[in-house]
Symmetry: C2
Subunit: 546 residues, 2 copies
C-alpha cells in the first residue's frame, strides 16, 4: 500500500482554492501510483476556522466543497479533513471529521473524539465529540483513522492524561493495524522533536503498528503549522519525515518501507527563524497585502524584524522608515541606515521633531507646571505610529510592529505608538531570543549591524534613557517571564529558582497590570509554548497580585 502524505497550506474559508489544491495533490499522487492520499485536519475549511463554524452557510459551503473533491477521487482513495454535521437531536451542531473517499464516494466518516480546549484551542466551543469509533478496511489493512488530539492522550506517555478515553487504544482493540492521524498541530519551539516525535515513536512501539501522521503547514493569523508530517514503522523507527515549514507530498510504501533520507534537523533558532518567515508571508498573502513598512530605530528589534521581512517577502516589498527625534543618537540613525543598506531596502527619513513640538505647543496649557514624563515619551512613539499608519493608509502597506515578548509582558511599549500595526512579528520572541535570532541572521556575515547587537538597549524617548534603568537585565527578566507566563509557576517557586524576591514581585505585578495593553495588541506569531494573545486569556479588571 503506497500512502501519500499531503502536507498542504490552506486558507480559511477559501473553498474554491482549497478544493483546487486538494485535487492538484490527488492528481500528483495518482501519477505516482499512490493507493491512499491523506490530507490534514479540516483541509477543506483551513484551520482554525473559528466562529465561522457557527455560521450554517459556512458549514454547507464546506460540505459542497467535499462533494466536489469526492467527485475527483478515482483510481486512488483519499482521507480528507472536513466539518461534518451532527445528526443527533442535541449537542454541538458539527463534528471535526475525516472522510474516507473511494470511487468518487464518501464511504465512511470518522469523528474526532478528543477536543482540545486549552491554550489557543477552542474545539469544545464548536464540535461534538465522536459518539462511536470504527476502523476502515482497505487493501487488506484495518485503518485506524484519528484526528490530531486523538493521539495525544496516552496514559503511559503523559504524566497526567487530559481525557478519560484513549481513542487509539480503542482503535487498536478494534483491530487497527495502521494508525492514520490527520492534524493541524501548531508550531512551538522544540515541540516536534521533544514531544510529537517521541510520542509517535512511543505509541508505535507500544502498539506495534505503523503511525502515519499528516500535519497542516502554513500560517493562519497567530498560528504557524510546521508540517513535519511523519511515518513511523511498527518498530518505532522514523521511516520518513516531510519538509518543515513547506508544502510537501511525501509517498511511503507501507509494505516495503525504506528509511528515507531525513531532512536536516533544525536547531531551535533555525525553526523559530523559519516559523517567523512563513508566518509573516502567509499573514501578508492571506490578508491580500503585498508590501510591509517597518519603523527602523537603529535598535535590534526593528533590525531583526526588517531582516526577517526581507527574507520572507523580498527586499522590494519592505520599506524602512527612520523617524529620528531630538533624543535619537547619531549612532542610532547610522545603525538604522546600515541595516537598510545591508538588507537592500528602500528607506526614508521622516524626522518627528516638528510634529512633537507642535503637540507640545498645543498642549502647553494642559501640561503647564508638570515635568516631562511618560506623556511626552508616549507622544513620540505615537507620532511615529501615526506616520507609519498614514503611509499604510496612503499606499496600502501593512505596518509591522517591532516589539518583543519581554517588552509586551511588562508593558514597556506604547499603545497606539510602537504597538501600532497589523502584525507584531516578534511579539512572542523574548528579548534574549531576539539576540539569538540576530546572531543567526548574521551567521554568514553582518546583516544586523553589530552595533545594534552590542549597544545597551534604549527607547530613546528622553536623554540617557536605557531599558535597564527600569527593567532587570534581560536574561533575568526572561527567566522570570518564562517561569511565570510559560510554566505558570507561583512566586515562591520562581524565587526558589534563585531569582531575587523583590524583582520577581515587581515583574509579575507588571505582567498582571499590563493586560490592558496586550488586549489591544496586534496579533503576533506564536513560537513559544505560551504566547500572549488567543492562548492566554486574562481579565483586565482584577485585583490578584499573587
Amino acid at each position: 500500500m503506497k500512502i501519500a502524505l499531503a502536507q498542504i497550506n490552506q486558507t480559511v474559508g477559501d473553498f474554491q482554492k482549497n478544493v483546487e489544491k486538494i485535487c492538484l495533490f490527488i492528481n500528483r499522487a495518482r501519477d505516482q501510483n499512490v493507493n491512499l492520499i491523506v490530507f490534514p485536519e479540516l483541509a477543506v475549511t483551513g484551520y482554525p476556522p473559528k466562529d465561522f463554524l457557527d455560521n450554517p452557510s459556512f458549514v454547507d459551503g464546506n460540505l459542497k466543497a467535499l462533494e466536489k473533491i469526492a467527485s475527483s477521487v478515482s483510481g486512488i482513495s483519499a482521507i480528507v479533513g472536513f466539518v461534518d454535521k451532527n445528526k443527533r437531536p442535541q449537542g454541538k451542531l458539527v463534528h471535526n471529521a475525516a472522510a474516507f473517499i473511494q470511487d468518487k464516494k464518501i464511504v465512511s466518516v470518522s469523528h474526532k473524539s478528543l477536543l482540545p480546549t486549552y491554550d489557543v484551542f477552542d474545539e469544545c466551543r464548536y464540535f461534538e465529540p465522536a459518539h462511536a469509533i470504527s476502523t476502515v478496511k482497505f487493501m487488506g489493512y484495518t485503518l485506524g483513522i484519528s484526528i490530531c488530539e486523538d493521539i495525544w492522550n496516552d496514559e503511559e506517555f503523559w504524566m497526567r492524561p487530559l481525557y478519560e478515553k484513549d481513542p487509539i487504544e480503542d482503535l487498536i482493540s478494534k483491530g487497527a493495524d495502521v494508525i492514520i492521524n490527520i492534524s493541524s498541530s501548531p508550531f512551538a519551539v522544540g515541540k516536534h522533536d521533544k514531544i510529537r516525535l517521541r510520542m509517535l515513536i512511543h505509541d508505535a512501539i507500544k502498539y506495534k503498528v505503523p503511525f502515519v501522521y499528516v500535519n497542516q503547514v502554513g500560517g493562519n493569523d497567530d498560528l504557524v503549522f510546521d508540517g513535519n508530517s511523519t511515518v513511523i514503522n511498527s518498530e518505532g523507527k522514523l521511516i520518513a519525515q516531510a519538509a518543515a515549514f513547506e508544502e510537501d507530498l511525501m509517498v511511503v510504501d507501507i509494505e516495503n518501507p525504506t528509511i528515507q533520507a531525513q531532512p536536516k534537523a533544525h536547531t531551535h533558532i533555525e525553526s523559530v527563524h523559519k516559523a517567523l518567515i512563513m508566518g509573516l508571508r502567509d499573514y501578508v498573502t492571506k490578508c491580500c497585502f503585498k508590501k510591509v513598512i517597518v519603523g527602523l530605530s537603529g535598535g535590534i528589534d526593528s533590525a531583526v524584524t526588517a531582516a526577517l521581512a526581507v527574507e520572507s517577502l523580498g527586499r522590494d516589498n519592505v520599506i524602512g522608515i527612520l523617524m529620528p527625534s531630538q533624543f535619537s543618537s547619531r549612532g542610532s540613525i547610522d545603525d538604522a541606515v546600515k541595516l537598510a543598506q545591508n538588507v537592500g531596502i528602500t528607506y526614508k527619513v521622516i524626522p518627528i521633531k516638528d510634529i512633537f513640538e507642535t503637540y507640545q505647543h498645543t498642549l502647553k496649557q494642559e501640561f503647564k507646571g508638570r515635568p516631562f514624563d511618560i506623556a511626552e515619551e508616549n507622544l513620540q512613539a505615537r507620532i511615529r505610529g501615526n506616520i507609519l499608519m498614514a503611509l499604510s493608509n496612503k499606499y496600502g502597506y501593512l505596518v509591522l510592529t517591532t516589539g518583543n515578548k519581554s517588552e509586551l509582558a511588562v508593558g514597556y511599549c506604547t499603545l497606539y505608538g510602537d504597538m501600532s500595526g497589523g502584525l507584531a512579528l516578534i511579539s512572542d520572541v523574548p528579548k534574549t531570543m531576539v539576540y539569538e535570532l540576530a546572531r543567526y541572521i548574521n551567521r554568514e556575515g553582518e546583516i544586523i549591524p553589530q552595533n545594534s547587537i552590542d549597544k545597551p538597549p534604549s527607547a530613546e524617548l528622553k536623554p540617557n534613557q536605557f531599558d535597564q534603568d527600569i527593567l532587570p537585565p534581560y536574561d533575568i527578566l526572561d527567566g522570570i517571564l518564562k517561569a511565570y507566563v510559560e510554566d505558570a509557576k507561583s512566586i515562591s517557586e520562581i524565587i526558589s529558582m534563585g531569582f531575587d524576591e523583590k524583582i520577581v514581585r515587581e515583574i509579575i505585578k507588571k505582567v498582571n497590570r499590563n493586560e490592558y495593553k496586550r488586549r489591544q495588541a496586534a496579533p503576533g506569531i506564536k513560537v513559544t509554548s505560551k504566547a500572549f494573545g488567543s492562548g492566554r486569556r486574562m481579565p483586565i479588571a482584577h485585583n490578584y497580585m499573587c
Copy 2:
C-alpha cells in the same frame, strides 16, 4: 426554612475583599434569623477568573479564602461558589464548585455538570465536569444544588438541548424538593424576562418544586451581571425578585412564602442604560481609576457616552475635550459645549489644526501628487486619540472611546484614532439603540442636545462628509447587522427578510474584512446577545465571503 439570596459584586482575584464581603452578608443574614444563605457561582474568586485558573497558586488562594469563610459560618448555613481541585488522576485540574457549609465545616461539595463553552464562555477550558451528583439534606428538605448552566438544558424548554444530561432531572430523581442554583449569568437585553424567568417558571411547574436562583451582580471587563436573583414557588409563581444591577440581600421563607412586592420591571432601554452605567463604574473602580476623559465631537455617540459617564461616576469625574479641526462645523462645537454644560462637566477646547498641518508638512514629500484621502482623514482621528492619551498619561484619566456597534461592525472608525482608549462604553450598542438611549436620557428634559440627535451623522474629517455617503441608513444597516452578527443568518436568509442583495453583500463583506480593527479594539460592555470581543472569535486572515 428562611433562605437569604446574597446577590453580591465581587472583584476577580481580590480574595481579601471578597471574603470580607461574604462574611458581611453572612452576618447581615444571621441578624435576620436566616437558616441558609446562598452566594453566587465562584463568589470566592469573582467571575470570570479566566486563565488565572491555570495558576495553581490562584486556586490555592481561593481554597484558603474558602476556609476563612467557613470558619465564620455558625448559627447559619451557607452555600458558597468556589474553585475545587479535581482529585482524579486525569482531566482538567479544577471543578466549578459549590460548598455547603455548616457549623464552620464544609460538609459537602457539589460540582458543576454542564460547562458552557460558547459565546463569552470558556468553561471546558478550565473545569472538569461533575462525575457524580448528590443532594444535601437540610432542615427536613432535600436540596438539589446546581450551578448556573446546570439549569439551562431542559429538553422541553429548549428546541435543541446542548448537552445529553440534565442535572436537574437527575437531582429531582434523587429526591430534591428545592432546587438551588448559584449563577454568574451575564446580562443581555431581554435575557432575564424573555428567557431566564420563563425557564425557571417552566421548570418549577414541571417538577413541582421551588427554584432559588442566586445570580452575581456587577461588571467584570466586558461582562455585566444583572443580578435579578429570583425565587419561584412549586406552582411556578414568582415569589420574590432581587434588585437589578445592584447588590441585594433578599430573604424568603420557603415554608410560608408571601409574594413579595416586585421591583418595577425595566423596559429594554432602561436595562441597557443601567447595564452601561454599572459596567462603566465597575470597570473604572476595579481598574483603580477615578476619572475618565471623553472626546466630545458634538455628535450623538460622544454625547451619550459622556452623559452615561456622568450618571455612572459623577460630574466631577468626567472631563470633556473638544478637538475641532478646519472641518468641524460651528454647530458641532456648539453642540459639544451644550452637552458639557447640560451635564455640568469641565470641558476644554484643544484645536488640532496646527498639529494636522505639521503632519501634512512633514509628510509633504510622501504625499506629493496624491489626493486627500483616508490617510488624512485617519490622521485627524489619530491626533485626537493622541491628545486624549497624552492627557490620560499626564493625569491618570481613563479614556473612554465613543464608537458604537454599527461603526465597529463595518470598520467605520479609526484604529489608534477614535478607537484609542481603555473602555469602549457603547461599542455593543447599535446606532439605532444609541438614538433610543439619547431619547431615554432626555426623558425629563434635554441633556443630549436635540441638535445632536436630529442632525445627519458625520465624522467631519473632510468637507460635507456624512455617514450615509457610504453606509445605508442606520435602521437598514442595523437590521442587516443583527441578522448576520447576532442571529448568524446566511446572506440568502437576510435577503429573504427584505433587504437589498447588493447592500447585504457589501455590508457582510465589510464586517468580515474589518476583523483586524476589532481585534485591537478596547473592551466594551456587552448588552446584546452577541457582542464583538471575547464572545465572537473570527480569523483575520481568511477568504470567506459567504
